[in-house]
């Protein structure tokens, strides 16, 4: 048999080989692998002394390994021609198998499938049973905890608000609030903040803030009472807490799935989407419960219909959301249907035009 030497290139690793300059040229013959250039002085490994395996990125490399008194050497060959030169002399089957056994592979692929499916199932469950799960979670949070959370959040929120302590309408707001919150476990606080936006909001634990813009745009004390009743119901029905649990739930699920990186951005997207679906039903809920509370407090609930309808008709006051989503008409229809018939209410004893404060 002729000793046809062929050659190739690869990467050489081993004691004394500088990893920064380990590109190696070699030739193969029946004697073994002879290195050239930089590594020409190396011992020639005989074919009987080498082992080989597939490995490296995507198992594209042919790795030949041998042991010398100085230590372990390894030659990694990537290109097909060089691999061919080596394979002409190597036994046809790899002499080292690094593959895990069949069972480990099966187990690890099951683990992967489960781990891919599990979050999908959990997220699916969350979406599907979100209300029930949140109900359960919320019912396990004591009112005291909610009040404490709300107080902290409001203390933070407060710094960004222009709270008016001497607004002429404040006593009226507090009296109306007191009538609407009789028998409630929450220690309510009512505030007026200087803000032209026609808005009011409630935070968990009973912190209700009404904007001056809203006071100015309401025409009667009944209309204001309707808004307060609506906001109070957000507290009573623990909507804020539900939102919090909802968001925290998503956060927990996402951090489980995505680990510590990359969770936040995707997380907020999902949270926002979840909140959107959530809030509309809450608003309707607050409207209907608000009507009941008004009736219980002996305040004419017609104020709610009047206020919303007037706002919806006047384009200059139209908040963007009211105009962009048709659900608000449905909301008012629902409120109208919920109004008890044939019932008279004593008017609220306030000079509203004077108390609502200076005009915008």
């Amino acid at each position: 048999m002729k000793n046809v030497a062929s050659s190739g290139t690869g990467l050489l690793f081993g004691p004394g080989v500088d990893p920064a300059e380990n590109a190696a040229r070699f030739s193969v013959s029946a004697l073994g692998i002879q290195f050239q250039g930089l590594h020409a002085a190396l011992h020639v490994p005989a074919w009987s002394a080498v082992r080989w395996r597939r490995g490296g990125f995507n198992d594209t490399q042919l790795l030949v390994e041998w042991t010398t008194p100085a230590g372990e050497f390894s030659l990694s060959v990537g290109d097909v021609a060089s691999q061919g030169a080596l394979l002409a002399h190597l036994p046809s089957a790899p002499s080292i198998t690094t593959r895990p056994s069949q069972t480990t592979r099966a187990v690890s692929s099951t683990v992967i499938v489960v781990l891919v499916l599990l979050p999908i199932v959990v997220i699916g469950l969350l979406l599907w049973q979100a209300d029930r799960l949140i109900d359960w979670a919320v019912s396990n949070i004591p009112v005291e905890t909610e009040i404490r959370l709300g107080r902290e959040a409001f203390a933070q929120q407060r710094q960004g608000l222009a709270i008016l302590e001497d607004h002429p309408g404040l006593p009226m707001l507090r009296q109306i609030g007191a009538r609407l919150t009789q028998g409630s476990p929450y220690p309510y606080e009512f505030h007026i903040a200087r803000d032209e936006a026609i808005n009011a909001f409630a935070m968990p634990g009973g912190f209700v803030v009404v904007h001056t813009g809203l006071l100015a745009s309401a025409d009667t004390a009944e209309e204001l009472a309707a808004v307060v009743a609506h906001e109070v119901q957000h507290v009573e029905r623990r909507h804020g807490l539900r939102g919090l649990v909802h968001a925290a739930g998503w956060r927990a699920v996402l951090s489980l799935v995505l680990g510590n990186t990359g969770g936040s951005i995707a997380g907020s997207w999902v949270e926002n989407l979840g909140d959107l679906r959530f809030s509309r039903s809450q608003e309707t809920d607050a409207d209907l419960e608000g009507v009941k509370a008004l009736v219980r407090a002996d305040i004419d609930p017609q104020g709610m219909v009047a206020f919303f309808s007037r706002l919806a008709k006047d384009p200059s006051h139209l908040p963007a959301l009211l105009s962009s989503h048709p659900a608000s008409t449905e909301r008012m229809t629902a409120v109208r249907a919920a109004l008890p018939k044939d019932r008279a209410y004593p008017p609220l004893p306030y000079d509203y035009q004077r108390l609502r404060g200076a005009a915008k």
């Binding site: 380990n22 590109a23 995507n58 909001f201």
Partner: protein, 268 residues
């Protein structure tokens, strides 16, 4: 044979590399990475990475591959048309380190995370290395598409935080947080490993898998993957929408966003 270029790296945490081109030499740069260049350097934007031979089909294929790796379809060649040495600089797009890789010394091929490529001597090709291991593709933190730099010239890669080079001995194994791998020689075996305990998987904060790298070969690791920095910045950024008044504490962010269901809709 790729052009032999000299270079100098400036800066510590936000670096740029200045490449010196002899007359007739050229460098290729990722579109948008050029910082400045001296007179006498002309630039030409090409479709693909300038190494494809043959017709329009080859070029389209090359460009398509670039699209897959998240690079721009085009690459710019900066060539020195003058008679003296000229310099052109390429800047890193986010805090981190620029590392030169001499492909001729490490066997001609280097595999790195997509987006890692910054610039190179003309003659270096920037292709894709498709991860064929499902597990590593899904959970390795680098995705299925990686970049493959081939040729015999100098290439510059960039990654976040501090870059560490490590030479793995034959058989030596290193477990790496997913996302921290920047690049490696093709002789390195890249796979994933389940973290091992369910409690660690759920609450350890490292996710479910480690990336495992097994030698022989050189690997580069980054201490701060861009995605991690981005998520920290995002978490600290003032929230948009209704809760934009408060500082970005978690309590404020969550409560503000969720509880401030304004009266008139509340779902903004």
């Amino acid at each position: 044979m790729a052009d032999v270029i000299d270079y100098e790296i400036f800066g510590t945490e936000m670096q740029y590399v200045e490449v010196e081109l002899d007359p007739g030499e050229a460098a290729i740069g990722e579109a948008g990475s050029m910082m400045y260049m001296q007179d006498g350097i002309s630039l030409e934007t090409i479709f693909g990475d300038g190494t494809q031979q043959g017709g329009i089909f080859g070029k389209l294929l090359g460009a398509g591959k670039r699209l897959l790796t998240g690079e721009s379809l085009f690459m710019t060649i900066y060539s020195n048309q003058g008679t003296a040495k000229r310099r052109v600089a390429f800047a890193a797009p986010y805090p981190g380190k620029i590392v030169p890789i001499d492909l001729s010394k490490i066997g001609g091929t280097f595999i790195c995370q997509k987006d890692a490529f910054l610039c190179a001597a003309r003659g270096v090709s920037v292709g894709i290395a498709f991860q064929r291991k499902l597990g590593a593709g899904f959970f390795g933190g680098e995705g299925f598409i990686m970049q493959k730099l081939e040729g015999d010239g100098l290439a510059f890669i960039h990654a976040g935080g501090t870059l560490m080079k490590r030479d793995l001995a034959p058989g030596e194994r290193l477990r790496v947080d997913t996302g921290c791998l920047v690049g490696m020689q093709p002789s390195v075996n890249y796979d994933i490993e389940y973290v091992g305990k369910i409690k660690t998987a759920l609450f350890g904060g490292e996710g479910l898998f480690f990336a495992t790298l097994q030698g022989p070969g050189a690997i580069y690791l980054q201490s701060l993957p861009l995605s991690r920095m981005a998520s920290r910045i995002f978490a600290a950024a003032p929230q948009t929408g209704g809760g934009n008044r408060e500082q970005g504490s978690i309590l404020g962010g969550v409560l503000g966003g969720a509880a401030l269901g304004g009266l008139l809709g509340g779902d903004d």
